[in-house]
C-alpha cells in the first residue's frame, strides 16, 4: 500500500515538473524543472530495483546534461525575452496529437497488462530470486564485455562519444576571420 502511494506521489510530481518544462516561458525555470523531472525518474528507477541506473541518471542527466543546457540558455539569454511567444502556430494541433497518442498507447498497455493488482498475476511483479537482482549489476558489467552479448555496441558507443566530443568542439568553436587566421 505504501509503495503504491509513494509511486503515485513521485509520478504526479515528476509529470508536474515535465509540464513546467514544456509550458514555462522562462527557459531557465524550465531547465530547473527539467532537473526535477530527472530526479523523479531516478527515484522511479530505484523503485524498479535499478540502483545503478539511478546513479548513472543522477551523474549523467542532472550532473552533466542539465548543466550543459543551462550553459546554452545563458549564452543565448537575451533571445528568450518573456514577451516573445513560447509556442508556435501549431500548438493546438500538437496538444491534440500528444493527447491522442497517450490515449492510444494507454489503451494498448491497459489491454495487455491490467491496472489493478488484483486483476491478474501477470500485472504484478513475478517473484524473482533475490540473488538475481543482487547480481544484476555484475551481470550488466559482464554483458558489456562479453563477446556473446554487447561488446560491439559498447565499443561503438565509445567511438560515438568521441565523435560527438570532437564534433561539438568543431561546430561550436568561433570562426576566425581571414585576416586573423
Amino acid at each position: 500500500m505504501f509503495e503504491q502511494v509513494f509511486f503515485i506521489f513521485v509520478a504526479v510530481v515528476t509529470l508536474g515538473f515535465a509540464l513546467i518544462v514544456v509550458t514555462n516561458k522562462n527557459l531557465f525555470h524550465a531547465a530547473l524543472a527539467l532537473m526535477g523531472t530527472f530526479l523523479g525518474v531516478a527515484i522511479i528507477y530505484v523503485t524498479l530495483g535499478a540502483g545503478f541506473l539511478a546513479m548513472a541518471q543522477l551523474l549523467v542527466y542532472i550532473g552533466a546534461i542539465s548543466i550543459l543546457i543551462i550553459f546554452a540558455i545563458m549564452m543565448t539569454r537575451h533571445m528568450m525575452s518573456a514577451e516573445e511567444a513560447a509556442f508556435n502556430s501549431q500548438a493546438g494541433l500538437s496538444l491534440f496529437t500528444a493527447v491522442a497518442f497517450f490515449v492510444l498507447v494507454a489503451y494498448v498497455f491497459i489491454s495487455y497488462w491490467p491496472t489493478t493488482p488484483a486483476d491478474a498475476m501477470l500485472a504484478t511483479m513475478t517473484p524473482v530470486d533475490p540473488a538475481i537482482l543482487e547480481n544484476s549489476v555484475v551481470a550488466l558489467g559482464q554483458s558489456f564485455v562479453s563477446p556473446n552479448a554487447y561488446v560491439l555496441p559498447f565499443e561503438v558507443a565509445s567511438v560515438m562519444l568521441l565523435a560527438a566530443l570532437v564534433g561539438s568542439i568543431f561546430i561550436a568553436k568561433p570562426r576566425l576571420k581571414e585576416d586573423e587566421a
Binding site: 515535465a18 541518471q57 542527466y61 546534461i65 533571445m79 508556435n88 497488462w113 562519444l161
Partner: protein
C-alpha cells in the same frame, strides 16, 4: 506491489508531454529539453520491461545505458549546433532558421 502498467502509463504520459514540447515550442533549447524527456520515458519503459519480464537477463538495463550514452552525445552536439546557429543568425527560434527554404 506496483502493477506493471502503472510504470508504462507513467512513461507514456512523460513521452506525450515531451512530444507536445517538441512539436509546439519555438525555442530550439526548449525543443532539446523536450527530446530529453522523450529519451527518459523510453528508458523507464526499458527498465520496466527488464524488471517485470526478463529480470534474469540484463538486456533491458544494457540498452538503457546505451540510451543514456546516446542522450549525452545528442545533448552535446545539439547544444553546439544551437550555439553555432545563434552566433551566425542571432536567433534560437526554430521558425526563423529557414535559410534552406525555397
Amino acid at each position: 506491489m506496483i502493477p506493471m502498467s502503472w510504470y508504462l502509463l507513467f512513461a507514456a504520459a512523460l513521452f506525450s508531454i515531451g512530444l507536445y514540447g517538441v512539436m509546439a515550442r519555438r525555442n530550439t533549447v526548449a525543443i532539446l529539453m523536450s527530446v530529453e524527456l522523450l529519451l527518459n520515458a523510453v528508458n523507464i519503459n526499458l527498465v520496466t520491461f527488464w524488471r517485470y519480464l526478463t529480470p534474469d537477463r540484463s538486456v533491458g538495463m544494457a540498452w538503457a545505458v546505451f540510451v543514456l550514452a546516446v542522450a549525452a552525445a545528442e545533448a552535446a552536439v545539439g547544444l553546439a549546433l544551437i550555439i553555432s546557429v545563434y552566433r551566425n543568425r542571432d536567433s534560437v527560434v526554430a521558425e526563423e532558421l529557414d535559410v534552406l527554404r525555397n
